[in-house]
């Protein structure tokens, strides 16, 4: 068990991107997915338990090592980064895509009440949004959806982890 744990840890470490249990199992002959799942859970607990500056999280269906959020200021200082934020316009467009996908540009514009060409292009370039295909209606407009990278960037296991629109509505009315 400890041997598998060490291998799993080294794989998640080198991968950089989120690594699925299935993918890990392909690399370790003789280890079942269940054993790997156990090793991952044990690793997660280890990192939490010793107050490490690094943690293992479940994002986009895989496991990824990342720094703890309260380390952000030191890392930004080290990397010489200014806190980069997505603009409010980009976040609103992204929110509509995330909840309404697959969604047409015209639908996003109807919700936001503004032209979204520029923000949509920016999100495509950042690979947070992708072209899913075309809608089977006259004119066959392009439909958009979110990417795996979106899940990775926003720390989500999957889309169902987003608060539901109902929850958001209740939040608004209770304000």
């Amino acid at each position: 068990m400890d041997a598998i744990k060490a291998i799993v840890e080294s794989l998640i470490f080198v991968a950089g991107s989120p690594l699925t249990v299935k993918k890990i199992a392909e690399c370790i002959d003789g280890a079942t997915e269940q054993e790997i799942r156990g090793a991952v859970q044990s690793l997660i607990a280890d990192y939490e338990g010793r107050n490490s500056g690094v943690r293992i999280v479940n994002v986009g269906g895989g496991y990824q090592m990342r720094t703890r959020e309260d380390m952000a200021q030191w890392i930004r200082k080290f990397m010489g980064l200014k806190p980069v934020a997505l603009s409010r316009a980009a976040l609103e467009t992204l929110a509509v895509v995330a909840y309404r996908q697959p969604v047409m540009k015209s639908e996003i514009e109807k919700v936001r009440g503004v032209d979204v060409s520029g923000t949509l292009k920016g999100l495509l370039e950042k690979n947070l949004v992708r072209i899913v295909g075309r809608k089977d209606v006259p004119g066959r407009p392009i439909i958009y959806g979110t990417t795996k990278k979106f899940l990775e960037v926003f720390n989500l296991m999957d889309l169902s982890e987003l608060p539901t629109l109902r929850e958001l509505k209740e939040l608004e009315s209770s304000e």
Binding site: F13, V14, A15, G16, S17, Q64, M65, R66, T67, R68, E69, M71, A72, I75, M79, P83, V84, A85, L86, R88, A89, L91, E92, L94, A95, V96, A98, Y99, V111, R112, G113, V114, D115, L124, E125, N127, R130, I131, R134, R140, T147, K148, E152, V153, F154, N155, L156, L162, P163, L165, L168, K169, L171, E172
Partner: protein, 236 residues
């Protein structure tokens, strides 16, 4: 009236309206249209006075507000069973936008990669060209963008507009050539299969014309009105 807030913080006309509703502590289900319209127009005037670019969407909303206001003044016909409130559509739109605004705030509050949390860089790509390795997912956008950049650097005369009809034709060409490579000879009817799809018939015909023009296929007919047989122009 004081305008201490910055105007460019509004994300559009709906955002500005929501702001006015909050500021006046208005019930969103019962918007005093006259008041809101007045304040909305004052903001637009102010934006213009400050030489801010007032996007067309703000003006469209202004006329929509004025229209609602005038409809509010019309008497309600008593024979109408359920009189429609002219504000309904606007209220629905505002509620929906408000929800997505909240969703955007939720997203912003998450631990964003590259802002709050950081990962290790990707491992260095070894140059080994192993074709058994799976391909990394590519966003179609990257493909189009690559093509657009190449084409935009070309002289205008060479630019060719791509439409989805042309791409449907390419689809059909690929299918026909695949079938023909396998079967060596085919008739038009065999190419169509048992389809009744008019578009497919047209695309098949157009694809054959294109392939003949390219000299990739040859068509033979033994006699007038006889069966047309299609061959590869060059045997492999």
């Amino acid at each position: 009236m004081s305008y201490e807030i910055k105007l460019d913080i509004f994300q559009g006309p709906l955002d500005l309206l929501l702001y006015l509703i909050k500021k006046n502590e208005i019930d969103i289900y019962n918007i005093p249209i006259a008041l809101v319209t007045k304040q909305y127009l004052e903001y637009l005037d102010l934006m213009k006075a400050m030489n801010l670019d007032v996007a067309g969407e703000y003006l469209v909303m202004a006329s929509a507000l004025i229209h609602i206001k005038s409809r509010m003044l019309l008497p309600v016909h008593e024979d109408e069973e359920e009189p429609v409130d002219p504000r309904d559509e606007l209220t629905r739109q505002l509620l929906e936008y408000q929800t997505f605004k909240a969703a955007a705030l939720k997203l912003e509050a998450m631990n964003i990669l590259g802002r709050d949390v950081f990962r290790r860089p990707e491992p260095g790509e070894d140059d080994r060209d192993d074709d058994n390795r799976p391909l990394e997912e590519v966003n179609i956008f990257q493909l189009v963008e690559a093509f657009r950049q190449i084409v935009s650097s070309m002289v205008a005369g060479e630019l060719m507009e791509i439409d989805s009809e042309r791409m449907s034709l390419s689809d059909r060409i690929n299918e026909i050539m695949e079938q023909l490579t396998k079967e060596k000879v085919l008739t038009f009817l065999e190419l169509l299969g048992d389809t009744n799809d008019r578009l497919k018939v047209i695309y098949t015909f157009l694809a054959l014309l294109e392939l003949m023009k390219l000299r990739v296929i040859k068509a033979y007919q033994a006699e007038q009105f006889g069966t047309i047989r299609i061959y590869l122009a060059v045997e492999e």
